[in-house]
């Protein structure tokens, strides 16, 4: 690999360069830091950098490599979504509420990367408390889609998404409560995986909706995601919903042929609401899978349309409870002036939270309030089971489910910001897997031209059965052996050279 292609390498290529001493971790890290200096002022993907800490980790990684004890990700610079507590780093969750918060301990995900010898490149921008599908609710400003600066990167993991797409990091982490890894992966053209609920520990990951939140990798390829999963996944007793399972090697099935694979196409994913240009790209990718020997089966997930109403009861209900901890007493924003304790709570929360977060807290409080619990919360939990059962039935007929990850390509900044319901519909194809607890991926599948002539990425969603991540990564990896979409990087407007 030529040095000028360095930012477009695979994680395996970085590991090879590092372990054969053709490059040091310090050099690789400096390469990405230089790109961040050049392009981040316009993209706004990173909201916290600490070069001294980052380069100290890179130096330590070089010592480890020299001693022959390198792990596959040792010395590789990874961007961390600002939802993960990282000791000594600002950890804001994209909110004014936590603008001055410095994490006193590491999230499990962070300590796993540290143990692997990876380098923390910085903290990435996100929708406030992960509530959003465009990164426009961040207190630290929007993020530009590297493919077209007038468009959003998706959300909530918009900073990580833009950082991966613009090659400002080797790979990044994200979290996905209703689509926050997969929808930005689709809009920014890279590979993202939301694992089965409970596979990656939520310890030290700032809570939004605890029965849905799940962390996962955001990277160029399926192979990169598999290497990330080998670091991120695993039992952690500090998360009461972490699953105590044997450690897996997520790379183990990457090279299996796909002949005989049964792919289910849910008719609800190709109905009204899907933009025609996205549908066409998805159709082409399905044709590619047929060439690889897969069998296509028409299936139905009849309750898909209910996933958005159900989600907008359950997620706000859980959020209203989780976010009650921000009271201005022990950490977070406290109002400058107040009369008594009640006034301090109400003013601190009114000032510390942005409009979308407040809306969701209010909805959650409403659906949980006396007299409405059965009609909303209980009803939503019942329909959640119907949605999960749809998948149980579907997986009797097929091995994986495919469809679009998002209904359209990246939309323009400001386009949906005043219309919450239109914004919520961005997650129509992703939310049902969160409700069921299933794993889902978005894989680059091609480009659609916008009406102003820009080529914008389209993501193919792959949904697997519980704990079937290794197979999904295999399915994505085989596609990436015969296509080149995942290697395409945007040409960026010249930054601060």
């Amino acid at each position: 690999m030529a040095k000028n292609d360095l930012s477009n390498g695979s994680l395996k290529s970085y590991a090879d360069l590092l372990q054969s001493k053709q490059i040091s971790s310090v050099e690789l890290t400096q390469e990405f830091l230089a790109r961040i200096h050049r392009y981040n002022p316009s993209i706004n993907a990173f909201i916290a950098l600490d070069e001294a800490k980052t380069l100290a980790q890179a130096k330590a990684a070089d010592v480890r490599i020299a001693s022959g004890k390198a792990a596959p990700l040792t010395g590789i610079p990874i961007a961390q979504k600002d939802i993960f507590c990282a000791k000594g780093w600002p950890t804001t969750c994209g909110s004014k509420m936590l603008a001055n918060f410095v994490a006193p301990y590491d999230a499990h995900v962070i300590s796993q990367f540290d143990a692997a010898g990876a380098v923390n490149l910085g903290k990435t921008n996100m929708d406030e408390f992960a509530m959003g599908s465009s990164n426009e609710t961040s207190y630290f400003g929007g993020v530009k889609n590297p493919w077209s600066f007038d468009r959003v990167p998706g959300g909530s993991s918009g900073g990580s998404a833009a950082a991966v797409a613009a090659r400002l990091c080797a790979a990044a982490t994200g979290t996905d409560t209703g689509g926050s890894i997969r929808q930005p992966a689709s809009l920014c053209g890279f590979t993202g995986l939301k694992p089965t609920y409970g596979v990656v520990s939520r310890f030290g990951m700032i809570a939004f909706a605890s029965s849905l939140d799940q962390a996962g990798p955001m990277a160029k390829s399926a192979e990169d995601c598999a290497l990330m999963m080998n670091v991120m996944a695993g039992f952690d007793e500090r998360d009461s919903t972490s699953l105590d399972r044997a450690k897996e090697d997520y790379c183990r099935d990457l090279n299996k042929p796909l002949a005989g694979l049964k792919i289910g196409l849910p008719k609800e994913f190709f109905a009204e609401g899907l933009s025609a240009d996205v549908g066409k790209v998805i159709g082409n990718s399905i044709a590619e899978y047929k060439k690889l020997g897969a069998e296509i089966i028409d299936i139905s997930l009849p309750n898909t349309g209910l996933s958005i109403p159900v989600y907008y009861v359950l997620a706000p209900a859980e959020a209203s409870s989780n976010l009650s901890r921000y009271d201005g007493v022990r950490y977070g924003h406290r109002a400058d002036s107040y009369t008594d304790l009640m006034d301090m709570y109400c003013k601190s929360r009114a000032q510390g939270f942005g409009a979308e977060v407040k809306r969701r807290i209010l909805i959650g409080t409403y659906v949980l309030s006396a007299g409405y619990y059965d009609a909303y919360y209980l009803k939503a939990q019942q329909i959640r089971r119907l949605i999960a059962q749809d998948f149980v039935e579907a997986f009797k007929q097929c091995d994986v489910i495919m469809g679009p990850a998002a209904p359209s390509t990246a939309f323009k900044a400001g386009e949906k910001v005043d219309d919450p319901v239109a914004m919520y519909l961005q997650d129509i194809y992703t939310i049902s897997t969160n409700l069921a607890g299933l794993p889902g991926m978005s894989v680059p599948a091609g480009f659609a031209n916008s009406n102003d002539g820009k080529a914008l990425p389209v993501g193919l969603q792959i949904i697997g059965n519980y704990f079937d991540e290794a197979r999904m990564l295999n399915v994505a990896h085989q596609y990436q052996q015969v296509t080149d979409w995942h290697n395409q990087a945007p040409s960026l407007p010249e930054g601060n050279a």
Partner: protein
């Protein structure tokens, strides 16, 4: 069910979020749109369906009742908010957090 401005004010109070008249009006229109979306659920017959409260059917793990955490109070208190009402000092004293007097 139609939301009223009183509902918004009541819910905002329950959620401990100060809201002024202007914001309450703007919030009413946005929340009404979201509730209309949620209302789609009411068309579904869910009689006899067990509610699904979680993505995995798990029971709570138990552990031995032993000390597993060290005291990080000093570390945690570095994140204390500014006291406010004219003071720029952190809202802590003697290892405690300072709030307005609540008991006369």
């Amino acid at each position: 069910m139609a939301l009223s401005i009183e509902d918004i004010k009541k819910v905002a109070h329950l959620a401990r979020i100060e809201i002024n008249e202007n914001d309450a009006n703007a919030t009413l229109s946005k929340l009404s749109g979201i509730l209309a979306l949620i209302e789609q659920m009411q068309a579904v017959d869910t009689s006899g369906i067990e509610p699904m409260s979680h993505a995995q059917d798990l029971s709570q793990r138990l552990r031995d009742d032993v000390v597993t955490k060290t005291n990080l109070r000093d570390e945690f208190q570095k994140n204390a908010p500014i006291l406010g009402n004219g003071s720029q000092e952190p809202a802590v004293a003697g290892g405690l957090y300072l709030v307005p007097k609540v008991i006369e």
